[in-house]
């Protein structure tokens, strides 16, 4: 399983539906897009950030970020 799929799977296991794309020269950045629009502001809450960072760094990403555009 690649890093992005592994991170997505980890997020789904804790109930967060999201797509994760690898970006950067060495695919070092996990760019997350949460699927549930109701997350809205909640996606920037501390708990959501903590879980997202934990899943993506465990999958091997150096940086974990929310897609802006």
């Amino acid at each position: 399983m690649n890093r992005a799929a592994e991170a997505e799977r980890c997020l789904l296991d804790v109930g967060i539906s999201a797509t994760v794309e690898s970006a950067g020269r060495e695919n070092e950045v996990a760019v997350i897009r949460y699927r549930n629009p109701k997350d809205g502001g909640e996606t920037l809450g501390e708990e959501m950030r903590r879980i997202s960072v934990a899943c993506c760094t465990a999958a091997g990403f150096r940086y974990v970020a929310l897609e802006l555009y």
């Binding site: 020269r25 950045v29 997350i32 809205g40 940086y63 970020a65 929310l66 897609e67 802006l68 555009y69």
Partner: protein, 288 residues
């Protein structure tokens, strides 16, 4: 952050004053940041205007916002001040942007400061490195040592927090400004440093600063992707959809094709921390 100087800090400042007296006359690498502004102010106290010259090296990697602060500090304390051009972008060792990039930049700056020192009859070149810098990945310190540049704040053990406290007491406008390292530090290692990329980063940060009073702000460059690092308190401010849209507009206007918001927020030396971790993992004999 404590902005009150402790007794231990007082001893360190006394040691700094003694050290500067021993230097007789000094050229100071002066960026207009917290450290070099404080050092220049104490040097001026101890040695007087005829024996202190603050020199600012200008290049596309030096942020304009920092340049404005350097001019402000020089005016505020009546500091003899000279600006010179530096040419690190002509050095392919620098533009290759390996983890030792800072070495080549600092070597270029220090060589030019040494020229100024010799031409104008000064005795010593100083820089504003502090005691905390010993804990970070700082290849520039090696350049300083090789070329005989001294770091008095580091020599007497003054930390950033202590320098801020002493700066506040001295009335320096720099006491609470955020750290503002060179723009090349925003570019991920391995991606070449070019004037165009530095301009894009500077424009993005400048546009973003106009939108909101961020506590910390860095636009990290990963090719066409901007990774925005904000202080953890500021990250949540982007839950405000209007602010988020304005941030997106600013980054597009600056020239980024894609952008993302780092969920861990600003971390000092974030690019270096990844480098240090990987270097540690590569150490022979380290347990798997």
């Amino acid at each position: 952050m404590s902005a009150v100087a402790s007794r231990d800090t007082e001893f360190k400042e006394r040691a700094l004053r003694d050290l500067l007296q021993g230097c007789e006359s000094v050229v100071i690498g002066f960026s207009g940041g917290v450290d070099s502004s404080y050092l220049a102010n104490v040097a001026l106290d101890e040695l007087g205007q005829d024996r202190v010259l603050a020199v600012t090296g200008r290049s596309p990697s030096y942020p304009e916002v920092q340049h404005e602060m350097a001019l402000r500090v020089a005016r505020t304390i009546d500091l003899p001040h000279l600006e010179i051009d530096t040419h690190e972008l002509d050095d392919t060792d620098y533009t290759a942007n390996a983890p030792n990039r800072c070495y080549f930049c600092k070597a270029e700056l220090y060589r030019r400061l040494l020229e100024v020192m010799r031409e104008r009859g000064f005795k010593v070149v100083l820089d504003g490195s502090n005691a905390d810098d010993l804990d970070d990945h700082r290849p520039g310190l090696a350049a300083a040592r090789e070329l005989g540049v001294r770091s008095p704040l580091q020599e007497v053990g003054l930390t950033k927090t202590e320098i801020r406290a002493l700066s506040k007491r001295a009335g320096l406008p720099t006491w609470e400004i955020p750290a503002s390292p060179c723009l090349a530090s925003r570019i991920a290692y391995g991606i070449a440093v070019t004037p165009k990329r530095l301009r894009i980063i500077e424009e993005a940060e400048s546009r973003l600063r106009d939108l909101h009073p961020w506590r910390e702000l860095r636009v990290r460059y990963h090719g066409d992707l901007a990774r925005l690092e904000l202080s953890p308190e500021d990250v949540e401010s982007l839950a405000d959809i209007r602010l988020k849209e304005r941030v997106i507009h600013a980054l597009k206007q600056a020239g980024f094709g894609h952008a993302c918001l780092d969920l861990q927020g600003y971390r000092r030396g974030a690019l270096n921390s990844a480098f240090r971790r990987e270097a540690a993992e590569a150490q022979p004999g380290r347990a798997p």
